[in-house]
């Protein structure tokens, strides 16, 4: 019985609630209803008083879980969509992120951010916010791309003593399946080589891992071997794994679904040129979504974000330089 990505999140949460009395889940409609994406289905019943419907108050929801974490709880805060965390932005970046540095007291919260585009979601139900949160000192930002990581990284995140922004990708919720939930193969902070290659490296994360693999398959037909690195966490970034790959391939495409200015891909390019300029055989490239809000119509949306086609165009460009 194969598990989907969202079922992996569900399972992780169930186990966390079972394993630690300090865990609770707070979020809009997460109780009896089981959450907008059913990530908490049945959990309110199974764990009375620990899976709780919140009022529509993202700022206070975040402040609340921060205070609870200071008192020893390990709250999971579900945002209904990552986009609505803009309302909790102040509590996250100014209260949670600064807490340890200022007071020496850690804040073990996990904020679940249903992220990323799906066709027909539009500008306010499609955003990826990892680049915003990663900019701030004091936050760990993870971006699981696989069912096993969705499971393993959530379990690890909640048991971490520092605040974790857990960016789960809505596009992966239901089509991505795995036969078993490998327990924590890699810790948060380590990247994974998803697909080995020797001609170029694509460094990416979250849903774009799968698009990169598709592009790599397309290029394989022409004899190119593309290595794909899944960052897994965008803060911290595992520069060692990236550099090991670059030293083999000499070429980098940093790929992301976010807006193009700054963000994960710019950070990756900057780290790589700082650490291994002499290893590069070509100018490192970035590919992101376009510099507009995420459009609503599926055709516009598909043209807005990187696709296997546009990724392979970028890769061809990179390979011919």
């Amino acid at each position: 019985m194969a598990l989907t990505y969202i079922e992996a999140i569900h399972t992780a949460q169930r186990e966390l609630l079972e394993e630690s009395a300090d865990v609770f889940i707070y979020g809009q409609d997460v109780g009896a209803f089981g959450g907008a994406f059913k990530a908490t289905e049945g959990l309110a019943e199974a764990f009375p008083g620990r899976v709780i419907d919140a009022p529509i108050s993202e700022d206070a929801m975040a402040g609340m879980v921060i205070g609870a974490a200071v008192e020893g709880a390990r709250p999971i805060l579900e945002m209904q969509f990552a986009d609505f965390s803009s309302v909790a932005f102040n509590q996250i970046v100014n209260q949670a992120a600064t807490h340890y540095y200022r007071t020496g007291v850690q804040v073990p919260i996990t904020v679940r951010l249903p992220s990323g585009g799906t066709p027909g979601s539009g500008p306010f139900h499609s955003q990826t916010m990892e680049s915003i949160y990663a900019h701030y000192p004091g936050l760990i930002v993870v971006t699981p791309a696989t069912v096993a990581d969705a499971y393993g990284m959530l379990k690890e995140a909640v048991m971490m003593d520092d605040p974790v922004m857990y960016c789960e990708h809505k596009f992966l919720y239901r089509w991505l399946r795995a036969d078993e939930l490998k327990k924590n193969s890699l810790p948060i902070g380590q990247a994974r080589i998803v697909r080995p290659g020797k001609d170029a490296t694509v460094v990416t994360y979250s849903a774009m891992v799968h698009e990169a693999v598709k592009a790599a398959e397309m290029l394989k037909e022409d004899g190119w071997e593309i290595e794909v690195v899944d960052l897994r966490s965008v803060k911290p970034i595992d520069i060692d794994t990236i550099m090991a790959s670059i030293s083999r391939t000499g070429r980098l495409l940093a790929l992301g679904e976010g807006f193009p200015w700054g963000g994960v891909t710019a950070e990756v390019v900057s780290l790589v040129v700082a650490e291994g300029f002499h290893l590069l055989d070509a100018a490192p490239m970035r590919l992101n979504s376009k510099d507009t809000p995420v459009p609503y119509h599926p055709d516009l949306w598909a043209a807005h974000r990187p696709t296997p086609e546009s990724i392979s165009v970028s890769l061809k460009h990179l390979l011919r330089l």
């Binding site: 809009q28 409609d29 109780g31 009896a32 209803f33 907008a36 419907d53 919140a54 009022p55 529509i56 108050s57 700022d59 206070a60 969509f81 986009d83 609505f84 803009s86 309302v87 066709p119 027909g120 979601s121 539009g122 500008p123 306010f124 139900h125 376009k290 510099d291 507009t292 809000p293 459009p295 609503y296 119509h297 599926p298 055709d299 516009l300 598909a302 043209a303 807005h304």
Partner: protein, 332 residues
């Protein structure tokens, strides 16, 4: 009401509001079946059960003069305010001919330069925006007796944006109708997980604004309250907080079966359209034939608007200019 003498103007408004209700229900039924047939791009969010509230607000507002920020359940209000049916069908069907050109969809449509902003999803955010529109006009000396209106749900009252916006509007003494539709649920969340006062109308005093409460299933009562509130706002009495109560008669969106709404609650609640139909007949405002005609006309209009939109093109990514800024100078 039956005994009072209704002025020709008031009667015209009642007719206008009632037609909007019927048209809205007809349209939304159609949207629902298009959704189920997989013809809609994205989600569908309906206002069934809230038409009396919404239409009566849209009716007392004057297009070309007032400004109105409808929310997700305001098809009736939009229609009453004068939104083109084609704007609706084009947007739901994701056509490039619509006001959002396929860049945004469903309830997120609007025409800000025609007094109807296009809502962002973040609840509560429209209140300060409408306040700003009125503020700018007053600054320029062009406000006259224009007013603004914005709709929220019970759930939206928990947002900081709602609080800040209403408080700011009160401090600036702006002529805004702030309509809170308490439909007992925010998505699946019941009122008792949303606020702990007995009645949201008790918040009016704390903001220093006039409060009105109304049974949202009673169309004529809604017309009365909206008329009063609009008059009071036009007269310079600042924000008018209206709390209107009516159960939502559909899911949060059409993907949602709303089984979290207890059966007893459903059983108790009445459909404002049915109430309005009886009210029209009992008061002699419309005969049953006239009502049947309105329904028939609505069907024709809806069918036509769907048919027109269906023939039109969807956006072509190669033709979109992909510009988030309006300026197009050399560097920008």
């Amino acid at each position: 009401m039956a005994d009072e003498k209704v002025s020709p103007d008031a009667l015209a408004k009642i007719h206008h509001g009632f037609r909007a209700m019927i048209l809205s229900r007809t349209l939304e039924n159609k949207l629902s079946s298009l959704y189920k047939a997989g013809k809609i791009v994205g989600g569908v969010y309906l206002g069934k059960g809230q038409e009396a509230i919404s239409a009566s607000l849209g009716t007392v507002l004057i297009k070309g003069k007032d400004v109105y920020a409808p929310l997700i359940r305001d098809q009736a209000g939009r229609t009453a305010f004068g939104e083109d049916l084609l704007d609706v069908t084009r947007t739901y069907l994701g056509k490039v001919t619509g006001p959002m050109k396929g860049r945004d969809g469903n309830v997120h449509r609007g025409r800000p330069k025609e007094g109807m902003p296009a809502m962002i999803s973040h609840l509560g955010a429209s209140l300060s925006y409408i306040a700003g529109m009125l503020f700018a006009r007053r600054l320029r000396g062009e406000l006259n007796d224009a007013i603004g209106a914005a709709t929220f749900g019970d759930g939206a009252t928990s947002t900081g944006a709602f609080h800040e916006g209403l408080n700011l509007a009160a401090v600036e003494n702006l002529p805004i109708i702030v309509l809170v539709v308490n439909n007992s649920f925010a998505y699946s969340t019941p009122n008792d997980r949303q606020f702990s006062c007995d009645n949201l109308i008790s918040r009016a005093e704390g903001y220093g604004v006039t409060g009105h409460e109304v049974d949202g299933t009673d169309f004529l009562a809604c017309m009365d309250v909206m008329t009063q509130a609009a008059e009071s706002a036009r007269a310079g009495n600042g924000p008018q907080l209206i709390v209107a109560n009516a159960l939502r008669l559909c899911g949060h969106g059409e993907h949602d079966d709303a089984k979290y709404i207890p059966a007893e609650l459903r059983a108790q609640s009445r459909d404002c359209i049915e109430v309005a139909e009886s009210q029209m007949q009992e008061n002699g405002f419309l005969s049953s034939e006239e009502i049947a005609n309105i329904k028939q006309e609505s069907k024709v209009q809806v069918t036509e608007a769907v048919a027109i939109a269906q023939r039109e093109p969807t956006p072509d990514p190669r033709k979109d200019d992909w510009q988030a800024l309006g300026m197009k100078n050399t560097i920008l």
